[in-house]
Structures are given as structure tokens and as C-alpha cells.
Symmetry: C2
């Protein structure tokens, strides 16, 4: 660990500038000299210090990634996408997991700034709550480019890549309508989150566009958990004028529905049709075919990383524009949406 560029210089009988040149392929170096240097590097098992280089260059080549829940495959896939692009550009990733905790998120941001990272990719825990002011202040005063991934930070404009939840929900509900369903319920997500709001909007839009009246009693407010969805589904199944289809606003909640269906001996789609938002890989593997809206997670990660790289390469110290990309989710039909008399 103690071998430095000077050791190499000494061993090769050249100056440290020359060593630096062969290290960076910059400037002119006689072939013979280069070989000597390379040999010394090999022999001493030398690895240059990125720390020293960063300090000297005032540039770290590392970017920070902040996620709320690393053990959720949704974020795992985002990171996978981020990582792929980062790899291609030889960027390091410093990972911060916040456990959905705003204070940890703030702490992470501070940490990252100390590390003099080039930019930040963040999937904000943030909802509409009122801590937002300090939160925003922190992000904005970072002086570092930030790209949001599928989140929403109130009152403020940031670069980001998002999913078009409205369109996704619209497509799902439209499909149900096309199948012949008219009594379509929705189980929403936590309504202080942007995706939940947008998905509900998409649901309403689809009904309106097809002249189906929106019935408040068909709108059920969930909270993204399968437990709540389970309870709601039980209720739905007890309704006198029961819907024939449910649009479920998140993957976890789909699981709750399935459990309730199972207990009440409800067959999909014979007794109840269903379309979810976001996939649950496992269900397909075990042969349980549930249609869903597929938000392109890996793609989101890639897109965000690319956007950040673009911003960094533009080289502007102050940002002059807000970049936003909306990714379109795909509808994946498995048969659970069918209308069967």
C-alpha cells in the first residue's frame, strides 16, 4: 500500500512527471522509457491513488446514489441500470440507503458532498410533508447536479426521469373497458405520493373518455401495503353492486388482493378481473398470470445516469435548464383482464 508514484519514478530512473504521463497516456514518452516505467509498475504492484488524483484534478469521477430501500428489487433494478452506464464511463458509485428516513437522507447528502462527488442520483423518500423546506434547501445548496428518479419533491424543479403514471393507469383501465368491464374499482396508493395521485388521475381519465361515470364507492384508498389491500379486497367482495374488475395501483397490493381472492374462492378473471401496476416476477414464474403495467426500472436507472453524465459534460457550473424525461410504461397482458360472462 505504501508504493507511490515516486517509488516508481525512482525504480524506473525517471521523473515522476514521466510516470504520470504513462499512467495517463498524456504527452510524449519514448517507447523505451514507457516500457521501463510499465515494468516498474508491474514489479512493485503499484496502483495509483484515486484520492491524490482527485485532489489534484479537482474531480472525483464518483457519483452518489441515494435510495430508500435497497432490499426492494424495484430499487435494486434501478441501481442495476445506473451501474451499467456508470461502468461504461468508469464512474464509481457511492451508495446510500436511507430506510425511508428523511434524516438519514439528509445525512447521506452531506456525506456525499464531503466526498466531492460529481453528481447525485436520488429516489426521494420525500412526500408532501412539511420537512420539505430544509430538505429542499439542502439539495439546492449542494452545488452539485442532482437527478431525481421516479420521485417528486414538492414546490421545486429538479432534473429527473419519471414514469408516466397517468398513461400507465389510463392504458390499464382502458384495456379493462375494452374487454367489456364497466364496473371497475381502483385501489390507490398513499395519496400523498405523486405516483398514487397520477395513477388515480389516469383511472378517472379512462372512465371519462369512455363515458363511464366515476363512482366514488369504487375508489378505495390504499397505502401501498398488501395488508391494506387485502382488507379492501375483502370489502369489495362483499359489495352488493360489486365491480367486475379492479385496477390495483401497486405490485405489493396485488398480493393482498390475491390472498383475499383465494380465501373467498374468487377465480381470476372469471369472478374478478385485475390489472396491477408494476410487475411481480414471482407470480409469473409460478404460473399465476396477472396482467400489469410495467414501469421500466432498469431503463430508468440507465436514463437517469445518462442524463447526469450529459449534465456533467455540458460543463455549466450553474444550471440553466431543467431536464425531464418521462418514460412510458408498457402494458403486459396475461389474461387476468378478461371479461368473462
Amino acid at each position: 500500500m505504501a508504493v507511490t508514484i515516486d517509488d516508481i519514478a525512482k525504480a524506473a530512473g525517471v521523473s515522476r512527471a514521466t510516470v504520470s504521463r504513462v499512467l495517463n497516456d498524456s504527452g510524449y514518452v519514448k517507447d523505451e522509457t514507457r516500457k521501463k516505467v510499465l515494468k516498474a509498475i508491474k514489479e512493485l504492484n503499484y496502483t495509483p491513488s484515486a484520492i491524490a488524483r482527485s485532489l489534484s484534478k479537482k474531480k472525483t469521477n464518483t457519483i452518489g446514489v441515494v435510495v430508500p430501500e435497497i432490499n426492494n428489487p424495484f430499487f435494486g433494478e434501478i441501481i442495476k441500470g445506473v451501474n451499467q452506464v456508470a461502468d461504461e464511463h468508469n464512474l464509481n458509485l457511492i451508495l446510500c440507503n436511507t430506510d425511508e428516513d428523511v434524516d438519514k437522507e439528509l445525512k447521506a447528502l452531506k456525506l456525499l458532498k464531503e466526498q466531492r462527488i460529481q453528481g447525485i442520483l436520488i429516489t426521494p423518500t420525500s412526500t408532501d410533508s412539511d420537512y420539505n423546506s430544509e430538505y429542499l434547501w439542502t439539495i439546492e445548496n449542494l452545488g452539485i447536479p442532482v437527478v431525481l428518479i421516479d420521485g417528486h419533491v414538492k414546490y421545486s424543479n429538479f432534473n429527473g426521469v419519471f414514469i408516466d403514471h397517468i398513461k400507465g393507469a389510463y392504458d390499464a383501465v382502458k384495456t379493462l373497458i375494452d374487454e367489456g368491464h364497466e364496473k371497475i374499482a381502483i385501489i390507490t396508493g398513499r395519496m400523498d405520493s405523486r405516483p398514487a395521485k397520477e395513477r388515480l388521475a389516469g383511472y378517472k381519465k379512462a372512465l371519462k373518455m369512455h363515458n363511464i361515470p366515476i363512482r366514488e364507492e369504487y375508489i378505495f384508498y390504499g397505502d401501498y401495503t398488501h395488508e391494506k389491500a387485502y382488507k379492501i379486497t375483502k370489502e369489495i367482495l362483499k359489495m352488493k353492486d360489486r365491480p367486475t374488475a379492479i385496477f390495483v395501483s401497486s405490485n405489493m397490493m396485488v398480493l393482498g388482493c390475491i390472498k383475499a381472492f383465494d380465501e373467498e374462492n374468487i377465480q381470476i378473471p372469471k369472478d374478478m378481473a385485475i390489472i396491477g401496476f408494476d410487475k411481480v416476477e414471482v407470480l409469473n414464474i409460478i404460473g399465476m398470470n396477472i396482467s400489469f403495467i410495467n414501469g421500466p426500472t432498469i431503463e430508468m436507472g440507465k436514463t437517469a445516469m445518462n442524463m447526469l453524465i450529459d449534465i456533467l459534460q455540458s460543463g455549466k457550473t450553474t444550471e440553466t435548464e431543467i431536464k425531464t424525461i418521462k418514460l412510458l410504461p408498457q402494458l403486459v397482458l396475461k389474461g387476468s383482464e378478461k371479461f368473462i360472462e
Copy 2:
């Protein structure tokens, strides 16, 4: 971004040494002076550079984490555990995802060394194949403490935390035996991986200890994929002298079994009992109760991080001992193991 310790010194009318002292709470600083400095820091929104500090201290406070598949919740949970402990000790995590690719893993190791990280936590992609020599050479010559997580690098001894796969498998099979099963099949993992070998060993041990002859035709060699497990299960169901229970050596493979069962109208556990290794959260949520051996993933991450911290604090440049911890997996019974005539 341009504000440095010298700016603060100037603003506060002191030397940079003094600023450093208040930053690190070291040495003596008059209260009044400290306040001036703190004020300047606040006003200029100054964040010290970890890079410069690292260079000066020859110590980075960051550790590298290398995993093969970030989007697999198994590794997600490990990282979550690692992260928790790292947080408590104010350590940064540099994440490397290798996509099960040995070359990427090697590259990651090099990258990490350049970053002068303090230590490495790695879940090796490595199996028994022959690239091992370069691989081992690389790790050993890193000159950095390494802690393995649940992996196995052939021919070599490293610090590490592992799961006692033998005991896990033994417990599972013993449970089946206690239930009254005698014809018990196993679907193994990829046999060039250590966990697969050990789980098979545990299976055999349980049979032997209970005087049940090992029947080669009940040993099925899988490869951790659900597709293969699906095919194998179909075969099993066709056997003349069909087993009454299957011990399935990985969570993904359990899914393949379930699909096959479903297609053939096999009821669990009436027609076939089953116990898997590693949980599949989703199955429980939808009310499908499959018993399984639970390897404590988050715990493994924590334990590994703690071990690394221990090693670092021991302060030895050369390691004088190999530390190894084996974590005991727990049996979680859900009813799928029952013997029903």
C-alpha cells in the same frame, strides 16, 4: 464548491490550523475563536473535503462492497445489513455490481484499490472454475482486508461469514423424516457451488442418521433456476415409486416446483410435501404457505461489516489469523412439510 479551509480561516481571521482544530475537535481552541470559526463555516456554507482529508490522513473511511446481482433481494438484504453497521461507524460504501461476471469483479477490485478503501466485503461470483488463480492472486495482493460473505473461494483461506448450509439442509430433511416421510427427493443447486454441495451433504446426513437408505434416483441435480426445477419436478411426478416429499435447495427453484405442481394438480402437502432453502416473501403474502430454511441475510451483512471493522481496528498490517463465523439458519414451518396419508 470552491470554498476551502483557507477561505474559512480568512473569514474568521485565524490560521487554517485553527479551523482544522475546530473541525476535528482536536487540540485547544478558545471558545470565542471556535464561535467565530463556526460562524464563518455556516455563512460560507462550507463542507470540508473528504478527499483532501483522506490524502492527508492516509485513511479513507470508505469500504468497498462487491455483489454479483444487486437486483436480487438476497443481496439487497445483505447490503442493507452492511449499510446499517457502516452508518453507525460513519463509513461510506462504494458499491460494485458484477452481474456474475468474473472480469467485472476483477475490475471492481482494481477500482476499489485505487480508491484506497479500507477494506472489502465481497460475495464472490466465484465457483470452482479455473480462472481462480488470477482471481485469488488479485484478492490476496490487494493488501486490503477482505471479508467474504456467503461465498467460497477455492484453495484459499479468507475471513468470512457463512451460513451453515449443512445444518440447514439437515434440519429441513429431519423435519420431513419426523413427519413420517421416508421417500424424500432433493433438487440440488449448481454443484460447482459450495452451498449446493453442503446442502446435499446435509440431506444425506439426515437420511443416514435416521437409517434411511440414500437412493440415487431421488437426487436431482438442478442449477438454481426455476426452469430447471420445473422440468425436474415434472419428472419426479412421473416416477413410479414417487417420493412423498421434496427438499428444494433454493428459493427460485421452489417456484419452478410450484408451477409444475399446479399444472399437474398436485396439492401441497397432501400429494407432495416440500421444504425450500431461503424464503420467498411473496408466497407467504399471497397465502401460499411453504416451509423454508431461512438464512439470516441482513444479519450476515451486519456480521460481515462488524468483522471487517474489528479487523481494521486491530490495526495489524499483516493479518495473523483467519476469522470465520458460521450463522445458523432457522427453520420456518408453514405446513407444507406435513405428511398426510
